[in-house]
Symmetry: C2
Subunit: 459 residues, 2 copies
C-alpha cells in the first residue's frame, strides 16, 4: 500500500466521478473540479449525447466498486439492432448470444448516480463551476476560475488526473511539453439529436429493447430507448454535399428529406422541425496522444487521452476500463513511484485506446451502410454459426469488443484475421444451409484447426 | 489581376522572405513580422540546422523570381553520397545522373541573401523582434510584442500568411477553430550538430562535393560542406537506449563511443567534446494539418502547414515549391475570391505535403541503415541501368523527388510500384553483369512495356 495522496481530478463527468470512488477506496483524498454547475441542482444543456450504450467493460468497472446493481435499475437492455429501410420494413440482427445485450443509459442520470454515490464519502469533495484556466505541469499548480463568483484560485495537488474530456485542458498543457505526440481528426460528418416521444399511453412507440438504425449508405439515423418511453434519435449526416446539414435550409427541405428517406419515423416525431433547427450540430472527433502522463504528477484518463467517435458505443466503456486497469495496477502498487506506475499504465492502455479508436471509425461504415445489405446480415448469421461450432476459437469481433474484456488491440487484430477467413467462407455461401456443405466445413477445419490461425488470447 | 492587398507574413525565415518577393511582384504591400532580431546585425543562435540541401524544387522557386544565380554563388554542389564504414573505408553512391547534384547552402546565409534582395523593395517592410502573441482569425488582428521595447501592438492586415514554422502561432489559432485536423509526431531520435573544421591550409578535410554519411544501423552521422572549408556534422541518435544521448554522460563516454564507431571522423573533430556538451539536442517532428486556411483571410505555408523530418533534404524545397504553386495560381487569379483561391491551394498541396512527410521518415531508414549494405548499393546501380534503358518509364524515386517537379504524391506512389518491380528483378541479380541476362530483360519488358505499370505523369 502506498502513501496517501491529495489528488485532484479535473472533470466530474462519468470517468472523473467513477475514478473518485476508486481512489478514495484506496485511502486517498480526492477533490473534483468541474466546469459545469452541479447537474443535480441546475438544468445543464450538455451539448453532449443524451444516452449511451453501456456494455461489459463498463459494467465491470461499476461492479468493481459495488454499484453495478444500482445502475442496472436505470438501464434498458437492447438485445438487437432493428434496421428500418426506406419503405419502413424492418430487419433484425441480434447483438450477441441469447441473454447478451447492450444497455441504454442516460448520460446525465448515470452521472448523477455516480455523484450521489461518491459525495457522501468524506474523502471526496466536488467543486462545481470551476473552469481550469491553466496547468503548470512542473509544479502541479492548477489555476481555476470560479464561474459563480468570478474569483480565481490555485490548487496544487500531489497528483492530478485529467478526466476533462476530448478538449482536455490538462492535455493542452502536455501538448506544450517536449516531444508530445498528438493528433485530432474530425469526420466530415456531424450529428444532431432528435426525439421520438413516448406514446400517449406512456409506452415506447417502437420496439423498446433494441437499438434502431435507419441505414442510408453514407448517412444514418439511430434511436436509443429512454426510461420515460421516449427515444433519443441521432442523425449522423455529412456537413456538406447533396444531402447534408448544409443542404437543409428550412422546414420544407427537412420534411421532404425525412419523408423520403425515414418515412416510418416522421409520424413518430411531432417536434422534428422545431428540434432540428434548435439543436446544435455536434462534431465527431478522434483524439490520440502519447504520453498520457507527466513526471509522475499528472495522468490523462478517458476521453482526455483517447476520445473516440461513438459508433462502437465504447467511449464511456473504454474510459471505465481505464479505471479498472489502473485499479488493478494500484492493487499491486507499493512505495511511491507514481512515475513508474503512470508509465506502465499508459504503455499498457495505449495500444487498446488506438484500437478502439480505429474500430469506432470502421463501425460507422458498417452501421450506416452494410447493415442494410441482406448479404451482410447473412454473413453475420454464418459467423454466428462458426462461433457456435468453434466456441473456443471464434468470438465475433463485435462480441469481443462488447461482451468480453479481451484487449481491444487483440480484438482488432483477431477481427482482421476473421475477416479474411469470412471472405473465403462467403464464396461458398448462398443461403444459410450452405454452411453445412463439405466445402465450408473443410475450409473451416483447415483454417481454424489445422492452421490454428485464431488461438485463444494468452495475455 | 486582383485588387492590391495589405499582407502580413508571420515569420521572415526562408519561406516568408521568399514569399514576400513573390507577393510584392504582384503589387501587394507586404509586412513581415519576425520574432528574432535582424540576422544581419545580430548573431542569432538559431537552434536550427545550420546548412540545408537545396535541390530542383528550391532552385525553381528562386529562378521564378530571378535570384537563382545570386544564390548559386554561395551553394556547394554535392554530387554523391560518401559512406564511411566503421574501419574508415569509403563507398560511394551518385545522387543522380552526370551533372546532377544537390547543393549545400547555409540557412543563415540564404536567409540574409533573401532579405537583402527583398528589403530594397518599397512594398516590403521587415519588422524584427516581433513576437506574435495571439491571432484573431475572424478579424485578422494579430497581437505582437516588440521584444526590444516590451510594447504591444496590434496589426490587422487584409491577408495573413503564416510562414512561422513548425511551431506556428497562426496554426495554433487555427487549431482552436471547429473541425481542424491536426497531428504532431516526434521521432524517438534527436540530433546534435558538431563540426569538422577547415584544414590548416583552409581546405576541406574530406571530399568537398559530397554528402558524407556514417551509417550505423539505428543511428548515423552526416556531414555537409560549408564555404569556409568546414563541414557541419549532424549526429542523429536515439534519445534513450544502450547507445543514445542518455547513455553518453561525459567526455570519456563520448570519446570511447566516437572512436569505436566513427574512427576516421574523430581526428578531424578537435572540438568534439566541448561542442557535444555545449550544443542542444534538437527534436525531429512531423506536423500535418488541414485545412491550411481560414475564411479566405489567412493561409499557412511551408513548415507551418507541413513540417517534415530532414532526411530527404526537402523541408525548405517543399516550402519553396508551395510558393511556386501559389504563384502559378495567382497568375490566373482574377477578382477577389481569396477564400476559393486558398481552398484550391490547400487541396492541391495537401497530398504532396503528406507524401514528402512520409518519404522523409522512410529515407531515415535508408540513410542510417541500408546505405551500409553492399546489396543495397548494387540495387541502386541496377536501378540506374533500368532508368538508362527506359528513360521515359523509370525515374528512380530519389531523382523524382530531388531532380524533377513531379508531385511528391506521384513520386511516392510510383516509387512503391518500382519497389515491387525491383524486388522481382533483384532475385535474378548477383552482380551488375546479371542485368543483361535474359531473365532480367524479359522481366523488365513484361513489367514496363507489356503491363505498362509505370506510365509517365499526366497531371
Amino acid at each position: 500500500m502506498s502513501e496517501k495522496k491529495n489528488i485532484a481530478i479535473m472533470g466530474a463527468g462519468l470517468v472523473g466521478s467513477l475514478l473518485s470512488l476508486y481512489l478514495a477506496k484506496r485511502g486517498h483524498k480526492v477533490d473534483l473540479y468541474e466546469r459545469r454547475p452541479d447537474l443535480r441542482t441546475t438544468v445543464v444543456d450538455g451539448g453532449r449525447s443524451i444516452n449511451l450504450a453501456l456494455s461489459d467493460r463498463g459494467w465491470r468497472a461499476l461492479k468493481g466498486i459495488g454499484i453495478e446493481e444500482e445502475v442496472r435499475k436505470v438501464a434498458i437492455p437492447m438485445r438487437r439492432r432493428v434496421m428500418h429501410d426506406e419503405q419502413g420494413n424492418l430487419t433484425f440482427q441480434p447483438y450477441g448470444k441469447e441473454g447478451q445485450a447492450i444497455y441504454s443509459v442516460s448520460r446525465g442520470g448515470l452521472n448523477v448516480a455516480l455523484m450521489n454515490l461518491s459525495e457522501p464519502n468524506p474523502d471526496i469533495t466536488f467543486h462545481f463551476s470551476r473552469q481550469a484556466l491553466d496547468v503548470n505541469l512542473r509544479t502541479n499548480e492548477v489555476q481555476l476560475r470560479n464561474l459563480e463568483t468570478g474569483e480565481s484560485e490555485t490548487v496544487q495537488p500531489d497528483l492530478l488526473f485529467g478526466a476533462d474530456g476530448a478538449f482536455s485542458v490538462v492535455r493542452g498543457a502536455m501538448q506544450k511539453t517536449e516531444r508530445f505526440n498528438y493528433e485530432q481528426h474530425y469526420l466530415e460528418y456531424g450529428y444532431k439529436e432528435l426525439t421520438i416521444p413516448a406514446t400517449a399511453a406512456g409506452g415506447w412507440a417502437i420496439e423498446k429493447n433494441a437499438l434502431h438504425i435507419w441505414p442510408r449508405g453514407n448517412y444514418m439515423m439511430i434511436a436509443l430507448p429512454n426510461l420515460d418511453g421516449s427515444f433519443t434519435c441521432t442523425l449522423f449526416f455529412p456537413y456538406e454535399g447533396e444531402r447534408s446539414f448544409a443542404s437543409i435550409k428550412n422546414g420544407d427541405d427537412l420534411l421532404a428529406f425525412f419523408k423520403g428517406v425515414f418515412p416510418d419515423a416522421v409520424p413518430l416525431m411531432p417536434g422534428l422541425v422545431a428540434e432540428y433547427f434548435e439543436n446544435p450540430v455536434g462534431s465527431l472527433v478522434t483524439v490520440k496522444c502519447f504520453p498520457w502522463s507527466f513526471a509522475g504528477k499528472s495522468l490523462l484518463i478517458g476521453d482526455a487521452s483517447h476520445a473516440v467517435v461513438p459508433f462502437y458505443g465504447q467511449g464511456m466503456n473504454a474510459g471505465f476500463e481505464d479505471i479498472t486497469v489502473l485499479d488493478q495496477m494500484l492493487e499491486a502498487f507499493e512505495g511511491d513511484d507514481w512515475e513508474g506506475l503512470f508509465h506502465r499504465f499508459e504503455r499498457r492502455r495505449k495500444p487498446d485506446a488506438d484500437a478502439i479508436a480505429d474500430l469506432a471509425v470502421l463501425n460507422f461504415i458498417e452501421m450506416r451502410d452494410k447493415v442494410a445489405n441482406p448479404r451482410f446480415l447473412l454473413r453475420k448469421k454464418v459467423e454466428g454459426k462458426i462461433s457456435e461450432q468453434y466456441p473456443d476459437r471464434w468470438i465475433p469481433l463485435y462480441s469481443m469488443v462488447t461482451f468480453t474484456d479481451l484487449p481491444y488491440s487483440y480484438a482488432l487484430e483477431t477481427g482482421m484475421k476473421q475477416e479474411k477467413i469470412m471472405k473465403k467462407v462467403m464464396k461458398h455461401i448462398n443461403t444459410l444451409e450452405d454452411y453445412d456443405s463439405p466445402e465450408v466445413q473443410q475450409l473451416l477445419e483447415k483454417q481454424l484447426v489445422q492452421k490454428e490461425k485464431l488461438k485463444p488470447y494468452r495475455g
